[in-house]
């Protein structure tokens, strides 16, 4: 356990060194806060940009606070996922390429703690960034529109966190299975995109698909209650996370012994 903690601390320190603790939370804040601000100032922006004929009147309905918060949250499942995957894809593949992994594994470090400490490190970063970013989006929405109940905020936060955890785990898996960080990132992104599109298109068949967690979080914010399929979807997400994590340790071990 103490060995695991050492590896974990190394991860945290390394993320300080390459400023991940600064730029990932800031990116999440800017991504989320942009939504309430632009939807609040949209009428003024249109007016100042001009180009409308004299006397043209069109009403932009004021969105509800829940809808604004949901659209801010949805930024995290598009650009947020992109940032996470591109930031995580190198964590194992990169170290293997540069030879750091071999240097660490010469010592009596178990493969399990090597992979899981990296996984836990990037997970901590993602959850903290998501929390800071989403909290500021919630605050801005409250200031400009209406306050969304804090309970709904936390529920949708956990649902999104679960989906992003799945993304991180899949990226870690491909990062340990493949030598090239670029290929690992590309495959993870393609997979996440394919699953999202597929379960979006067949949403009545795949209610339990983990990528539906994002739309359930949105539904909670706009409609005020959780769809019934949230629990199975979360359970499926947890199972898949566990399977991918175990597989990545397994694959990493085989690859590392073979080379």
């Amino acid at each position: 356990m103490s060995q695991w903690m050492t590896l974990f601390q190394k991860e945290i320190i390394e993320m300080w060194r390459n400023f991940k603790w600064i730029w990932v939370p800031i990116t999440f804040i800017l991504l989320g806060v942009k939504e309430p601000l632009t939807s609040y100032y949209l009428p003024q922006i249109i007016k100042s940009v001009g180009g409308l004929p004299e006397g043209a009147v069109f009403e932009i309905p004021t969105p509800t606070a829940g809808a604004v918060l949901a659209s801010g949250l949805s930024q995290y499942s598009t650009i947020g996922v992109l940032v996470i995957v591109l930031g995580t894809m190198g964590i194992i593949a990169g170290e293997r390429k540069s030879g750091v992994a071999a240097m660490i594994l010469v010592k009596p470090v178990s493969y399990l703690s090597y992979v899981t400490s990296k996984w836990a490190g990037s997970l901590l970063l993602v959850w903290i960034s998501l929390f800071i970013g989403y909290l500021s989006t919630w605050y801005y929405t409250g200031q400009l529109f209406d306050w969304v109940p804090i309970g709904e905020f936390f529920q949708s936060f956990v649902l999104y966190g679960l989906w992003l955890t799945l993304i991180v785990t899949v990226t870690v898996f491909f990062s340990s299975a493949l030598l090239s960080p670029g290929v690992a990132g590309f495959i993870s992104l393609a997979l996440a995109l394919a699953v999202s599109i597929l379960s979006g298109a067949l949403s009545h068949l795949l209610e339990w698909s983990p990528s539906q967690l994002t739309s359930y979080a949105g539904a909670l914010l706009t409609a005020g209650e959780l769809p019934d399929d949230t629990l199975p979807a979360s359970l499926v997400a947890l199972v898949i996370i566990l399977i991918f994590l175990l597989f990545s340790v397994f694959v990493f071990k085989r690859k590392e012994l073979a080379s």
């Binding site: 390459n18 400023f19 991940k20 600064i22 730029w23 800031i26 990116t27 804040i29 800017l30 806060v33 601000l37 100032y41 003024q44 922006i45 007016k47 100042s48 940032v83 591109l86 930031g87 190198g90 990169g94 170290e95 390429k97 540069s98 801005y140 200031q143 400009l144 960080p181």
Partner: protein, 66 residues
């Protein structure tokens, strides 16, 4: 100017500040790092002139993590 007066600066100022932090951090990192993906000078311009997205792009793509 009407647009500027109608804004709530208490809400917008913090965003400028964190954007500035992002800009400074990325420039500091760029000055310390040995090699980037692509010419270093190019990244200086991207960070300074591409608003908000420039520094993020640098950290995501420009930085070499080894």
């Amino acid at each position: 100017m009407e647009l500027l007066e109608g804004m709530n600066w208490g809400l917008i100022a913090p965003l400028f500040i964190i954007q500035l932090i992002l800009l400074i951090v990325s420039l500091v990192d760029l000055s310390r790092i040995e090699k980037t993906n692509g010419p270093k000078l190019l990244w200086v311009f991207i960070i300074i002139f591409v608003n908000i997205i420039g520094p993020i792009l640098y950290f995501v793509i420009g930085r070499r993590n080894d």
